[in-house]
């Protein structure tokens, strides 16, 4: 009953099998292996973007920060949701990689940036000449950190605000596959057709060992990305184990299948919680959810073997009736039995 994070789950066996299969003989490194050609072709086809530049890195923070550094100048500010991973969970990586750009926080009550709040935030960075930070990229997280999804229309609405000011748009797609599995949109429709310039497509959380696929829809930016990746220590010499992961993950729709499995487990969990009168804070659209419950219940769940993180207070101490928020994340390997055991504890 581990619902702590989708990165607590294992990789799909096909991924390790592919890495093992790639482990034969000598190979050029640094992305010059033949498999990388195939990966780029697959991504271009899946995203209907025949010119896109495709790169691989091993962590989500690397993908996000390298892309933001490619899109932003150091004197700019990056507009992100208040809850965004780049703001909350990357220990100032965007500031580091960009050489000191700022993040401007946009309200996103349910994890999705509010369009009016984005408009206001952009407008507020106007009219101070060289004195204030200059407007830089807008970064959107799909699936959001709260487990909600934007879908193509909302992404397009937000991206249009950015583009009206000439600002590039980045998508942190650490869980984009879960959003796609939810809404059924075409990858092109939720990315470049909706106005996204550069994408971090997360695979680690969804069945890989350590892989994030970077998609630069404007290939002219690839060279700068390459220099930044190298000097940040994120270019792998034995790159074949990244391309092997990517090829297996994208083959035969595995990436979407795994996302659908995780979503299904989450839906089952949400349904069960709802049926038991447990309060869910946001619509459950992908593979994670937040629920509010008394500390006493959280204790019982943890004592029963459930693993997940709490927000707003500790398990120990305090009044058993205090309401604390728990986050439950289902990875691709979460099964119905675990969900049922969890629900049975309530």
């Amino acid at each position: 009953m581990n619902f702590a994070s989708d990165n607590a789950g294992p990789a799909h066996p096909a991924i390790l099998a592919a890495m093992t299969a790639a482990n034969a003989g000598h190979s050029p490194g640094y992305g010059a292996e033949a498999a990388m050609e195939r990966v780029q072709a697959m991504v271009r086809e899946i995203f209907e973007a025949p010119e896109a530049a495709v790169r691989l890195v091993a962590t989500g923070t690397a993908a996000n920060s390298l892309l933001l550094a490619t899109l932003a100048r150091p004197w700019e500010t990056i507009f992100c949701a208040r809850t965004a991973h780049v703001q909350e969970d990357e220990c100032n990586a965007p500031e580091f990689f960009t050489g000191g750009a700022k993040l401007t926080l946009v309200e996103a009550p349910d994890g999705r940036m509010d369009p009016d709040a984005l408009r206001a935030a952009i407008a507020a960075e106007e009219g101070r000449g060289v004195h204030g930070p200059k407007r830089g990229p807008v970064t959107l997280t799909e699936t959001s950190e709260k487990g909600t999804t934007h879908g193509p229309a909302r992404i397009a609405e937000l991206a249009a605000i950015a583009r009206a000011h000439g600002l590039p748009v980045h998508m942190d797609g650490a869980r984009l596959s879960n959003a796609l599995a939810h809404c059924g949109a075409r990858p092109a429709g939720i990315s470049w057709q909706a106005g996204v310039d550069a994408l971090s497509l997360g695979a680690t959380k969804n069945g890989c060992v350590g892989l994030e696929i970077v998609v630069l829809f404007d290939p002219a930016q690839a060279q700068e990305f390459d220099y930044r990746r190298k000097r940040a220590g994120h270019l792998f010499s034995k790159h074949r184990y990244l391309s092997a992961q990517a090829e297996a993950w994208l083959s035969d729709g595995l990436w979407l299948d795994l996302a659908a499995r995780a979503n299904a487990a989450a839906a089952l969990l949400a349904q069960g919680l709802g049926a038991r009168g447990v309060e869910l804070l946001y619509p459950v659209e992908a593979n994670l959810m937040f629920f509010r419950a008394p500390r006493g219940l959280h204790r019982r769940l943890h004592e029963g073997g459930a693993q997940y993180y709490l927000w707003g207070g500790d398990l120990e101490g305090g009044n058993p009736d205090d309401l604390l928020t728990g986050r439950l994340v289902c990875d691709w390997s979460a099964d119905a039995a675990a969900v049922e055991r969890f629900l049975a504890l309530i």
Copy 2:
């Protein structure tokens, strides 16, 4: 009738006279001139801080950023008022000088950080291990950007919150002299005795040519500051012209006299505005104020020769009845006649 900024005013003649007097013969540079010894002794005496390290730079952004970089590590976040100069008007200088530290904005409705908001902001940066930014320095602005002053008690209250978490405290004292002239506190009482570790004492806005006095109450931090100042191009070779300014400015209480003059002009202006029914947004305690008035009035004032900045809209276009906010700043040279001419236009 120039109320645009205190840096639009001239230097006091004594400052230029001192620079001219310093312009005789050869002198060691880089702060090794004899006058710098005297300046350090004066600052130590004025602040009752016999161990403090004193340094000079030429701009406020340099003073603030160099000090914040000395106090913060790159993976930390600096707590500042939402309205702080370091956030709004330094084009990401703190992020640049610190090597990528973050700024966490604390609500400060009237320019003064709300203690509960500071507590909440610090608490919110807890419990994410290496993932979130780590808590770093708290920076307070006295006089605040809204023209209000904290006074020693409020500074001490905010600094105590920082120190309870082991966080150092910086004061952006670009207009500290105006606050002191207002409240009559002892410099020690509003700085190190209230919990301030490092101070940017602004002189440029208050009668100098280009001078900010840096006071490190913990002299052990001076060496790091010195390396940072040098590698940022802020160590002056012909340093004698900075120490000459400082010596003249601090002599015979000139710095407080000039601040008192500016405050008096502002008080006269505020009184006149109040008498004419003009809405002032915040208490006028130092040398600047914000007033709300219809666009039509702002136009009349500007056409009559008044100079000041508007917030929330442009002078031209739009409805003459729209309420716009104007900022009025009095420098030491603002005289009663200018104030009267301004008021007469209303």
Copy 3:
């Protein structure tokens, strides 16, 4: 006949088997998995350093740069061999991670820093107060980039020069295992006992998928390292696949066995070249060598299927008699048959 790089070879099957074995069920991430405890214990035992802090990253540039950033301040200069990987092959990563420290190049004619040159380089950074860069860490590469090894005595000699000036010592041990396999020294003897403070122990080039083991002999520096690793995107969420590699690699002396295999292949190759009168530029002590030969011979070798890099000129064009330098690297999987085929082409 791929002698292009040791990272062109495959991982040892035991490494992928260990990763596959680790792929079971849920696990804490970010190094909190149980295997990481075991890895730290193994490293401590192997290095006879019961207090050392052990960390894992995936690339050599990450290991080197994060350690150098932990050891150096931005206003310092890092002393490295002119041929060092950190200078030549990391696209300014040390400058990036340190926030702008400098590298001072020390002559190292055969890849090993000359002690007198190091003394002179350190002495030259003296006496300019805040104006010049300040002296920072010394970094040594064992096995050197030229395929020579220092051995404990030479490492100790160089480290003593650093320590006499109070400077910390870093070892880039991308091929340390090859040096140990060559000289038979104890790991402690060539590292902390010789004066090394922090070590990048390379595993990627020697049979792993992507793994570098960071050893901080002073564990007080681990926390700063951890923040730097996180904010550089080098902390892996599914960290178990790094610790699995490390555990397998260090078990039963596999790491030294693999290094010995690579060295043996290189010795065979060197012997054969020598027997055929081919000029070798440096003593062949580990798993790589440089040889000088006419362009015509290089062409014949490449046309015969040999893969390796050339220095000082291209294969195509030019005079067939021009002497060009080739670098031959044997990885653990290089076998005698490949060596024989290569030699037969000469």
Copy 4:
């Protein structure tokens, strides 16, 4: 008898008079004052560059570093003379401002970069793809740190090497006025016509209080420069005191007159040293020189009241016969009497 540095001398009285004259009434700041328009027009006329963008900062390190950061990307290396101020005397400022670019040192035995050495250095940074640093700007120092001058032909020769590789050229002209006074070249001829893209024209060392004039011959780079200047704290609010210095310094050829005075004093000194058999290390072409003499003589000079820096050893201790190098710098205010007193001590 102060020959320690040209920044040990006073400013010319006309400079302080101009600052005092500028100290009247209110003025826009940040370079928006009317005088700045005049300064830009004067520089454009003097340099026959009607499109050039002109900016003012207060220190040479600021001018150099801001320009190099504008010309270089963080993954590039800047080619500079081994003796360059940016390498030796700016405490890693170029690395800081550029966000981690590297400096590649080019041999310059007499302070002037050797063309073949520059060619070789550029060639050496070739062919390692993303792994090595990429080639960046070439920076030339005129007058060189050794007191020699390049003149237009040598500048053009070196710049042509850079331009053949598409690399921009920066000139550190801290003492450009001395070189111009020496060779009589037109400012255009030694700068943009010779291939220089951006110039730091030093005024501080040559009679100003604190002023460096930045000339961007490609005005398209001015906006980036402006953001960088602001976020580095080098944009002055009371900018009028910079433009006042510049206007006075450039008026009526004062800048060249002052340089000629300094050069004349240096020539007198060099002649006297030569006549007394003292060894001068380099041709004396501007306002500084290096001489080699026994420690005993250096002691006698210092005891007699001469001030200057020594290279290669200390005044105290050691053998009186040891040969040490002394640097003598004449500023504009150095007079014949001081020179005669100095020579009389020998």
